[in-house]
Symmetry: C2
Subunit: 156 residues, 2 copies
Amino acid sequence: MKWESLGSEPCSLARTVAVIGDRWTLLLLRDCFLGVRRFEDFQSRLGISRTLIADRLKGLVGEGVLRKVAYQDNPARYDYRLTEKGLDLQPVILAMVHWGDLHYAGQDGPPLLHRHRGCGCDFHPVQTCSECGEVVTARDVETRPGPNWETVMGMP
Amino acid sequence: MKWESLGSEPCSLARTVAVIGDRWTLLLLRDCFLGVRRFEDFQSRLGISRTLIADRLKGLVGEGVLRKVAYQDNPARYDYRLTEKGLDLQPVILAMVHWGDLHYAGQDGPPLLHRHRGCGCDFHPVQTCSECGEVVTARDVETRPGPNWETVMGMP
């Protein structure tokens, strides 16, 4: 399956998956949120080929999730930085980290702690409702067709 | 890369990615949260081979994200249902849907609406701090080594 084929899929989840639903892309994005910016650093952390790294970075730049910023001329060298659209992915990454912490961290506890600058505490993300502010769990949610439903593949 | 190789990775994000960081797995999980339970229904919705579906379902059952429940004998037929561990993935899926809605929904609006049973309103998920309850955005978060840090690959 090519990116393009899912990029034209009307379902929002499928579109997100087309952009970031690849394990190397997700690991690259984790590193972006940890402050990694340079090609060589991504490569040394992930330990995969330059071709794989270059392909994923190109895709993320093409989608406007990362932007290239020159930090050197002759030869040209670039940082890869999260755009605002990329920063909007932080709740996705943090929710994934939290699920891993919940179910796989073991006795030693989580490898990384996240501190909320606002209150100064180590925290984990809690999903709340944009309308009433209450905590939302899976059983609190009903899904129904929206205005763009016709173009989505129907329920069985 | 095999599941096993990342399953031994100490980073929580890498472990989550090893379990769900595959586009077909993510699309299967979306369908689980929409109430799809049967092999044939997953297959007709995703339009991919039985082998691919069977492989992803087996992986999710093996990780305890889904459980098989017999609904017929002779021949045996099974539903695939989310476990509690699987339901814990809902914030991940909903965060991904919301990012797709934000950046790809277009003029027609989102294809699916999510209603919060608690207040009765259509909502989108908002990430908040487990300690103070305030909204948390990407710039509000500092990441630092936790008690299990030594085993995580270091920062460059």
